[in-house]
Symmetry: C2
Subunit: 318 residues, 2 copies
């Protein structure tokens, strides 16, 4: 099978399936064409996924298709953007039809679930690597940035933290317990918080998705906002499964492990006050933004840890 046949069989079916608001020419030409509705901005982000770095060798291809698009889409949620379409650059060691079938099935599930239509791509031979770029739109000037946190803002996170990181310990477990299965589900099938995008752009001053770990990602908000913060480890939202599996170490996972794709948000007290219960019930307040620099965890400054920490792909070589 050649490159063109491969694209035709596995990837063209992912284009033109949604009632896209903006994609007017999908895969198959030199470029795709998107018509951004009047009064809206294009919001976009690219993420690379490398075998052995971002996912294990011989990782299930249907999980890979889902996870990669979920991780990329999470950046749209963090900006408060509505999903539109995506591109895929896929590098494969060889044409394995079963692998492609399974991968495109996982990708298609995510594409449907997140409302992201395939706009274009490139498929080549080489070490297994994916690069996905997601496109969303948001009302002009309403995208939420990392730099908007203000002293006094409440810091909140969505969902529970640390599950995906803990799952790494059980990927090769031959007979996983129900608790292990619960955290593994977070790792294999993350859900980007696109459901919160409307609330993010309506109420939040700053937002980031937690891909590298809470301390690292909150550190990015503080650096961009030139602010500090105080957070309390006792407030961290932990799943029952994580607490049972990791005991006293559960907090470490919630603070320092990545791949959760939850959101970290900063709200002015007034906005928090006015936010609907339907939003607040999905969030947990873990601390407050400070004018003074430093990221204080239970009173101890861990900002030196937070700045270059998280999942820093080059730290080992530096």
């Amino acid at each position: 099978m050649g490159e063109f046949e491969l694209i035709r069989r596995y990837f063209l079916p992912l284009g033109g399936r949604q009632e896209s608001r903006s994609l007017i020419l999908g895969p198959g030409d030199d470029c795709a064409i998107q018509r951004i509705p009047a009064g809206r901005d294009l919001v976009f982000s690219v993420d690379a996924f490398v075998e052995g770095v971002h996912f294990p060798r011989n990782y299930r291809p249907d999980y890979l298709g889902w996870r990669a698009l979920a991780a990329a889409a999470s950046d749209l949620a963090a900006m408060g953007a509505d999903p539109e379409c995506f591109t895929l650059a896929l590098t494969l060691p060889a044409v394995d039809e079963q692998w492609l079938e399974d991968f495109s099935t996982g990708l298609r599930s995510a594409s449907d679930a997140f409302g992201l239509e395939l706009a274009g791509g490139d498929t080549t031979s080489g070490p297994l690597t994916l690069s996905l770029q997601v496109h969303g739109t948001v009302e002009q000037g309403r995208a939420v940035r990392r730099s908007g946190a203000r002293p006094g803002d409440l810091i909140a996170v969505s969902g529970t933290l640390g599950d995906a990181g803990a799952a790494l310990d059980y990927l090769a477990e031959p007979g996983p317990s129900p608790d292990m299965l619960a955290v593994l589900e977070h790792y294999h099938r993350p859900w980007p918080r696109l459901d919160l995008a409307v609330a993010v752009r309506q109420y939040a001053n700053a937002a980031i998705d937690i891909s590298d770990g809470l301390l690292a990602d909150l550190g990015h908000i503080l650096a961009a906002s030139r602010a500090g913060a105080r957070i309390e480890s006792a407030q961290l939202p932990l799943s029952p499964a994580l607490s049972r599996l990791k005991g006293d170490k559960a907090t470490d996972y919630a603070l320092r492990s990545g791949d959760d794709y939850e959101l970290c948000l900063c709200f002015s007290p007034e906005n928090w006050e006015h936010a609907p219960e339907s939003l607040k019930s999905q969030l947990t307040v873990i601390g407050v933004v400070d004018a003074d620099p430093g990221l204080y965890l239970d009173g101890v400054d861990c900002s030196l840890e937070s700045v270059p920490a998280g999942f820093d792909h080059f730290r080992s070589e530096s």
Copy 2:
């Protein structure tokens, strides 16, 4: 050096340098933001470049930075789009500061030359692979597609063909002759035909960039347009250097080798008549579009060769 420091030092300087018409938030947040001017469409394309597949191992990093952005930008030229910005997903085996310095220098030269500003990216560890997505804009409805060729259209190509393909034979030449240097320049420093974009959208019915070889890429136009063509090998524009180096084989290079990043365009006879001399002087008419299927080269149908041919990355495995 960590990932964030690496990005800050080598890649952030490529953002915010141009008087961008549309990029309103560049690298450093969860997403970049582009505001497409009213009445214009976003036009975008992604290309992957893998070491050992798209460029030789230990290839000069400054050449790599230039070539990769040039190749990606060529797709914008083929749509008749004006360049705006690009994203880069870069996977590197290790942090080599000299390599990064040279790579970003080549990339910056191309960024300046083509008017493409860095909008965002992702940098990770792994086998050397690049994925670049270029964004352009064009007046709504004016993007030129592959599917617009009509029977009777004249087929023209820009520049000269085959030089970059011939250069592959001399990449390791210790003392290259002036002719070898001339074709090597085409390979190392291709110029996407963004200078022709205005003419493309004003006069051409269909367009494609010649990245995989003339027969393959013209084949894409014919397949999308459900048409055939007759072309004459004697009309192919060959550089003097290629003719001297390859003699009777020069035509084969012009027909079947890739990496030239010239354009193949189809014009109605009326539009060709009215096109300015400044455009025509950069183009060579090589044939005509036919209602009957088939791609006839000097009267011999080579459409079976043209359809899956060219630089098909998976052909050897199929």
